[in-house]
Symmetry: C2
């Protein structure tokens, strides 16, 4: 019981008295309020680059919205030139990344699937028997070939791990479940190349969703699971559920809008398949038995909600799950510039998580 030492509410409260009562009414108003509150009208705002980020990250954050974010290619054939133009531009950045991070890369095929093998110049003893599998992002339609490599290079370089990066089939070459199948083919091979207890899977955006989907499929098919995973800002819900689809729209300078290009890319890949299938919206999958998971997102990320929703679902399933959120960062800003200290920290954090959970 509370012993009240003084009487409140009897004295004259002055001009501010109603203020907090109004605030607090929010907490207790449950019963009176409509369950469907009207949308909040948020005014236009002018958003500067935050003061507390590195100069490199400030440039990435301060860039204007991606030009033509609202294109809507409707077929695999329409996506192909978009993907190729992007890959040509991004591919030019890859040699510098490889050089700075002292990583070698070679093309290969693994049981018929295109892939790259990335090897850091120096592999510390504890990582010699470890192997990571990477699935790149790009809305299931972008970043073919070398364009899918930056994140794999960062992981190999900052973490000093061997990495296999899957150059999975995309539209118009093939549609769902081709990318998933290719990733699983490589995963099966990887579990023979290394003890699964010494492996991990990682990827960002569509690659984050694929990372989660691969674990769901491995569970379904009775395959070994990796010892840890690192889905970065996963496209975990392609049905447009997730608060930050609205709150971070026109603020995230990469994805920009839930009705932008990326949504169309996923739909073209899905090719009519139910978007709510956990293979395409893994937030709805059964996460019991998942390996330890580290998630990465940013405060301006259009997929902030769909990253924290996965985190919550994993925790609900009793899975060890860590979350890192980059100040001011939009979708996947952390895989842009290996010279940004924020980038290094993200990958060192993931590497530390893997080091903790992978056998040696």
């Amino acid at each position: 019981m509370i012993v009240r030492s003084r009487r409140l509410g009897r004295r004259r409260l002055g001009r501010w008295s109603g203020v907090l009562a109004g605030w607090l009414a929010i907490a207790s108003a449950g019963a009176q309020e409509s369950p469907q509150a009207p949308p909040l009208q948020v005014p236009a705002k002018s958003v500067p680059v935050p003061a507390d980020v590195s100069p490199q990250m400030a440039k990435i954050i301060g860039a204007p919205l991606r030009s033509n974010w609202n294109i809507h290619p409707k077929t695999g054939e329409e996506w192909k030139p978009v993907a190729e133009a992007g890959a040509a531009a991004l591919g030019k950045l890859v040699p510098g990344m490889l050089e700075r991070l002292k990583v070698k890369v070679e093309r290969t095929t693994i049981d018929g699937v295109r892939a790259f093998i990335l090897t850091p110049a120096e592999i510390p003893p504890e990582n010699r028997d470890r192997l990571l599998v990477h699935v790149h992002g790009g809305c299931y339609v972008l970043n073919p070939g070398e364009a899918g490599l930056p994140e794999a290079i960062f992981m190999a370089g900052f973490g000093r791990f061997k990495v296999i990066s899957v150059d999975y089939r995309m539209p118009p070459e093939a549609y769902y479940p081709a990318a998933h199948d290719d990733a699983m083919t490589v995963w099966k091979a990887a579990t023979k190349m290394a003890d699964p207890k010494k492996t991990a899977i990682f990827g960002t955006s569509a690659g984050g969703a694929l990372t989660l989907a691969m674990v769901l499929r491995a569970k379904q098919e009775g395959l070994p699971l990796p010892a840890a995973i690192a889905p970065g800002t996963p496209m975990s819900d392609t049905t447009k559920v997730g608060d930050s689809f609205v709150t971070n729209a026109m603020l995230d300078n990469v994805l920009v809008s839930p009705d932008g290009f990326c949504d169309d890319g996923a739909k073209v890949y899905a090719n009519g398949h139910d978007l709510k299938d956990p293979m395409l919206s893994p937030v709805y999958g059964d996460m019991h038995g998942f390996p330890p998971t580290i998630l990465t997102t940013g405060t301006r990320d259009l997929l902030l909600s769909n990253t924290v929703r996965v985190h919550r679902r994993l925790r609900d399933a009793g899975v060890e799950a860590a979350l890192q959120v980059g100040e001011g960062q939009s979708h996947a800003h952390y895989i842009r510039d290996d010279t940004a200290p924020e980038t290094r920290k993200v990958f060192e954090e993931i590497a530390g998580f893997f080091d903790k959970h992978l056998g040696k």
Copy 2:
């Protein structure tokens, strides 16, 4: 070295070809761009309550902006009636919370400092020798007396811990460092009531900042540190640095704006003291040697950035630090309604973290 298996860029790329190149230019444009990019102009938007939250949390999220969020009481005397009105309203909710969560509370004084002792109906064996210290929030000017108890009740009830909640002095009774001093007085007493290895400190908002400041002061003064802390959406930077001060302005329905009432409350308490002092902006404090820390925030929280910045600083200092982010939640929404499943999960997560790190 990369072995290129095909030549890109020679074929006709079609109408989408410039799109991705534009996007990708962002990544490589560093050298050409001005270090101070112009602010991003984000248009007005209509933000519905997210679909993926409980009915209870939907009501909290769907509430309109706090009425009179832009009041600016400039003295302790002006704050007093505001605080008393709020406390009278919030105090009415406390008996129901105590009853539902089966927690008893009694007023006390500890070495001259007002406090409450909270005791759950049942204390499991592993918690019998453990003790938590709670510091309430309210911009250093609000939530006197019972109004500061909800979070302490939730922690005691969901976690089944004994809790001491500090009813620290606030303006106009006293100014900086009075609240800090009171909290430290109770902390010193707590370290004699229980083995510090079996204690933790927690609090939300100003209480989150106080939690961090208490560890900084304990380090400075050579006092024992708690075995873990749980600063919830800490007011870790009162100098207005932090991206979400802008990005979540007019979206967070509790704090609403960095220029709202809370900023004035902190300034009145500071009473001219440098706001950048880590005692008032603990994000600038030296976090080496901090105990394991679990931070809580929400995607719409005005202090989202200042929570994730603390997380990053802790990790940089080598501290074990966990982060949980509530979908769609504004500032401190998780300490509103104990019947919301989201609330229970937040406190169970913190309780699990404490259980892992506190001696038995």
